[in-house]
Each structure stands twice: as structure tokens, then as C-alpha cells.
């Protein structure tokens, strides 16, 4: 038996303009999580609530880039992760949040904060604590270099598993037909 301690892969994850569905799908790999934990060690991720990122081997990004904070987080991940992966439709092409790109930002904000029904104390929030919205939601490869793309809304647990295991094994990543889907 090989008793050498393999260094574990350090993995960080985050959700930008996304819905956490991709994270849920990651958890959906069920009992394989146990195998996974043998191989990886988690850094910053909403799963552990670690808030700062150290140097990582792998960064998994869910969600597109919709505001100034998303840009900052994404850049931080890019700087700290050797390999960066766009996980899910929103990270890959903007996804559902990018449907707001069909409208002017002013129309979106006015509908949400001024004209919408049942609002009181109307007005577009301008607290400096809040990140400002970009005029459009963008896929992450339009902001930083991305090494791998994992499509799906969300990508299935099987697809995530295929990706992680093949990456860990150092193989070129190939998905069976049923694991590639954009929805």
C-alpha cells in the first residue's frame, strides 16, 4: 500500500451573479463527496464560510459578472487559483441574470425601486456599501482568463464529478453525451 501522503488539492468556490444552484449540484454528488474530501481541501467557499482566499489549485466560479463586487471577487480568484473554472450557465454565458441585458439599467432599477407595485420609500439605493451594477451582466471569460467551462443550469452532479475526477487524474476532460447540456 502506498503510504505517501498525497498533497490535497486546494479548492475555492464562489457564487457571483448566480443562484447557488451550481453549489447545490456540487453537493448533489452525494456519497462521492466522501471520496472527494479525500482528494481536496476547501479554501474560501460558501460551503465552509471561509471568507478569505489563499493560494489554491482550483477555483470554481458560479454566476456571471453583474456588479463591481463580482469583478473584485472574480479577480481575486483569478490571482489565487492556478486553474479557474466557469461552472454553470451564468458563469459560461451570463445565464438568466443576463436576461436583464435586454433592458436599460435605468429601466431595471426604476421597475425594482420606483415603479414596482407595493413599494414604499421609493428611490434607487445609493449607499456606498452597496456594489454598483454593471450596465450588463457578463460571462466571466469576458473579464478574466478562464481555463475550463462546465455548462448546465446547473451542471449535473455527474458532470461535476466527471470534471473533478478527470482533472485530478490529470486526464484531458471528456464528457459523455448525456452530461453536456446548457439547461
Amino acid at each position: 500500500m502506498d503510504t505517501r501522503v498525497r498533497p490535497k488539492l486546494r479548492v475555492a468556490t464562489t457564487s457571483l451573479a448566480g443562484c447557488f444552484g451550481c453549489h447545490m449540484s456540487l453537493l448533489d454528488i452525494d456519497e462521492r463527496l466522501i471520496d472527494l474530501v479525500e482528494l481536496v481541501e476547501l479554501d474560501r467557499t460558501p460551503l465552509t464560510d471561509i471568507k478569505t482566499i489563499g493560494d489554491c489549485d482550483l477555483g470554481l466560479i458560479e454566476g456571471g459578472v453583474g456588479n463591481a463586487e463580482n469583478v473584485e471577487v472574480l479577480r481575486t480568484f483569478r490571482h489565487h487559483c492556478k486553474v479557474l473554472v466557469a461552472v454553470g450557465a451564468c458563469a459560461v454565458n451570463g445565464g438568466i441574470p443576463a436576461m436583464r441585458n435586454s433592458f436599460a439599467l435605468s429601466d431595471c432599477l426604476e421597475e425594482a425601486y420606483i415603479d414596482g407595485v407595493g413599494l414604499y420609500n421609493q428611490g434607487i439605493p445609493n449607499d456606498p456599501e452597496l456594489p454598483l451594477l454593471l450596465s450588463q451582466v457578463h460571462p466571466i471569460h469576458e473579464v478574466v482568463k478562464v481555463d475550463y467551462f462546465l455548462p448546465g443550469c446547473p451542471p449535473s452532479a455527474d458532470a461535476i464529478w466527471t470534471f473533478l475526477t478527470e482533472l485530478l487524474a490529470g486526464k484531458p476532460i471528456g464528457f459523455p453525451y448525456t452530461q453536456i447540456h446548457y439547461d
Binding site: 450557465a89 435586454s102 453525451y177 448525456t178 447540456h181
Partner: protein, 239 residues
Amino acid sequence: MAEHSTFRLDGRPIPFAPGQTIMDAALAAGAYIPHLCHHPEFAPHGSCRVCVVCADGREVSACTAPAAKDMEVESQSESIRALRVSILQMLFVEGNHVCPACEKSGACQLQAVAYDCGMLEPHFTHFFPRRAVDASHPDVILDYNRCILCELCVRASRDQDGKRVFAISGRGIGSRLIVDSPTGRLGDSRFAITDKAAHVCPVGAILPRRGGYRVPIGERLYDRAPISRVGDVAANEEA
């Protein structure tokens, strides 16, 4: 015909009759070449370029190039696959394709061809054009966000329905589908759900109402089997 002429598609002999295109002959022989604007019931068009193949060293669209005796046609090579993926990526970034929010998903030819070619991401910078949805017709939604300008509806309406309801307007990247009616809206045109044009759109741009999400995810046309095996949406609808 005394002798059956053949050409070779990825090494496989394909018989053809004079006048047949590479695409016609390949489909007749049960060999799939990815395509979007091609439909066997209509005159070849050659605009999407997804059916690009390398024929005797020259890249041509299989749907318009005549088959020739002893021609060597390459369709499944890595170089052609990569070229097709780039063309598909161009189509994806040109429009607004939010598959998770599209009724056509799972039975969409653009998506299915992209799956088949192994496209994982749209790669290029998105245009995010602002396009309208025309919900004026009682039986059909016309969502311009997803139109890939294949002109199948244009051809169907003109050549089979005899109505000329659709046309492509403008030029270059400003090209767009328009409707022939006094207001430009589909509801004010002569279009009917029984038209051939209502049933040829390879994507979710012309969507008959009340049909969405009938088939559960996992059981849709292209969920289990690739388009290279099960063929076009149109062929499956008729079946």
C-alpha cells in the same frame, strides 16, 4: 445508370446520383453531417455554414456542393469539428440564447448540433443585442432573440405556403427577420399555425403556444441521444 458513383465521407463510400449534393447523398446513406439551415424539403441555402466539410482539400458547404465521383470528403476530422464549433459559437454570441429559460431546450437543433460538436462554451464576446418578442399572434410566439437567420421560415412561407410572410431585412450584422404585415407584427399577417412556416424553425424563435415543457427533462428529443443519431427536429415531429 450503368455504374453507381461514389465518393468517400471520412473514408466511408457514399453512393450518389448525378445532381445530388454531398449532404443529400450523405443523409440518404444514413451518414450525418451537422447542419442548421438545411432541410431536405427546401432548396439548399448554405448560409449557416455549419455543414462545412473539406472536399478534396477545399472547404465547402456540404448542402450546396455537388457530390463528385471519387471525391474525398472529410467531415469528422478535428480540424473541421473545431471550425464548426467556432461557427456555432458565433451564432450563440450573436443572439440571446438563454437555454434554461427556453421552451425549445432539449429539442433545439442549434443546441443539439453544439452538443454533438462538443461545444462547451460560447467563447467569443457576447453581443447581447436588444431584440423584441412578438406575442401578437394567438397561436405562435416569435422571439427574435433566438433567430439564427436560417431563412427556413422565409423559404417555407414562400415556397410551400405561398404567402411570403417572412423576409430578411437589412445587411451585415444588422440583418434581421421581418414579417410582412401592415404593422410588422405577426398577428397582423396572413400567418397561420397550420402553415409549414410554423413548424420549420430549428430553434426557439418561432414557438407554437401551449406546447412548452410537455416533455419532462431527461426525455426530450436530444436528452439521451445525439442529433447525429436521431436526426433533425422536423423529421422527428413528422414521425
